[in-house]
Symmetry: C2
Subunit: 304 residues, 2 copies
Amino acid sequence: MEAATLLDYVVSSNASSLASGRTNNIGLIIPALARWFFSAAVEGAQHALMRHGYDVTLYDLSGEGAERDRVFDLFLQRQRIDGLVAISLELSASEVQRLLDLGKPVVAIGGPIEGIVTLAVDDAEISRLATQHLLSLGHTQIAHVGGADRFDTNFHIPTNRHVGYELALRNAGIEIRPDYTVTADFTIEGGYHSAKQLLGDPRRRPTAIFAACDEMAIGCILAARDLGLSVPRDVSIIGIDGHELSEFFGLTTIAQYPREQGARAVDLVVGQLRPGGELEPTANLPLAHDLIVRTSTAGPPVPD
Amino acid sequence: MEAATLLDYVVSSNASSLASGRTNNIGLIIPALARWFFSAAVEGAQHALMRHGYDVTLYDLSGEGAERDRVFDLFLQRQRIDGLVAISLELSASEVQRLLDLGKPVVAIGGPIEGIVTLAVDDAEISRLATQHLLSLGHTQIAHVGGADRFDTNFHIPTNRHVGYELALRNAGIEIRPDYTVTADFTIEGGYHSAKQLLGDPRRRPTAIFAACDEMAIGCILAARDLGLSVPRDVSIIGIDGHELSEFFGLTTIAQYPREQGARAVDLVVGQLRPGGELEPTANLPLAHDLIVRTSTAGPPVPD
DNA sequence: ATGAAAGCGCTAACAA
DNA sequence: TTGTTAGCGCTTTCAT
């Protein structure tokens, strides 16, 4: 051992893997990278893996259908990884099966996904909470800026967040107005344009908006400003995520913690890899969230 | 081959690597991930690598000193990769040497770095151009929001961008005022606070600001708004990057293209890996940039 | 405890 | 062209 240290000897990972069957490498599959949530989750996962001595191989599914298949059929098959973390992916049944067929630990962030151990915030519940926050402040005209349907094919957040919104309204005995739900593409710009439509029409202006993510919520704040409306005096806005910009914009939000989520998923995978570290084949573990009240929400405007 | 296809046979990458010495895997070293430029560059590199059939292993250096050393001493030594792409890293001489000692193709984005093939925008030149844009509109009181020194340890952009700014002013025969250069941390929030100081003091308010990146420039725009100043009527603002939010904010900027840069770096590495694909040991290849004039810059305000 | 050797699944060089 | 085999650098089992 002394001599090895002296010579800066490092085991060849290939020879070691071939002989032992362990690769010291974990795969991360993500729907895209250049988005706050995903890159933060990857960052958290990467650090945790490094601490465990694992390398991390990235598989980005943002390509077209054929490229996506190639990940499952080629890249994931070459025995390069000991386990897998899937982040915010909406997987088809056949894709789930192919992951399970690898015979390696798989943990997903965001779910539940049938047959896979998942970590997930309860999207319906946090959306209900966000909406209830607005209700508790006295709002009754609450609009929702949700995700467009086509995003459901990647990760099924939008639907569940919409469900929680309607649930909260229904519980409060408030009529659900179809024209109070608009969709956008999860970006600041998308939220801006949606909020312009919502707030610009004096016949239907809501007093509060619940946006399905902070980036859209920030777009809503900017749209309100450009319409000469004051936040929160004229309109209250709440988001979800705890995005790095949310504090700067004074946005009330339900924070979740992608770095910690990534690290926790990694710990679960690595734990299963250790001798004796089996896990029940399927489970959906809840993830922490916090309501962070800032300056973008207040009671509804008092009528003149 | 038919039988292989039929059986969904995929070569074991470890066995193949051990026998051939090729791993079909490229390493990406980055200073951090959760920033627009880096995640976009990684995305571009990842897609290009996938097309070439390569896996990608991520090494994030955002950890502390010991973690950083571990990347060079352990992770990069285990013969897992055929080549390396380093993104926007400020490397010590010893780190450069350790990369070269791997005996594998290394291409860096951002440079120049002594001894390594680099792709780089000419930071001094694009900063000069940005400043000259403001000069050509008639501005003479031009401030600079630059990067704080401590960021130089990761990537040396700030210094070079400041150099270009001063060069343009000097060429125009304009006195360089020390109080017109302030620093921030490359974030929207940082730019906001710096611009507040710069624009809030009536005794020294500049008529234009050149920010060293778009995120800080966007912070400047928001600060101007909050001070009741109109952009560009009262103050012109220009950034660098072509950030995804720059269009939304009407920001004039010098765009660069991290996705393409990542893809190009990958092509260079993969090209060297192909039989007969040698490259001169060191070179600094220029990268494309474009001045994109939007609505955040105009002539200086006319005195009352 | 320490040492010897088989073999992990391929690639590449060589023989036929 | 097609077939054969040594050996890549380790891990693990088995014998000492």
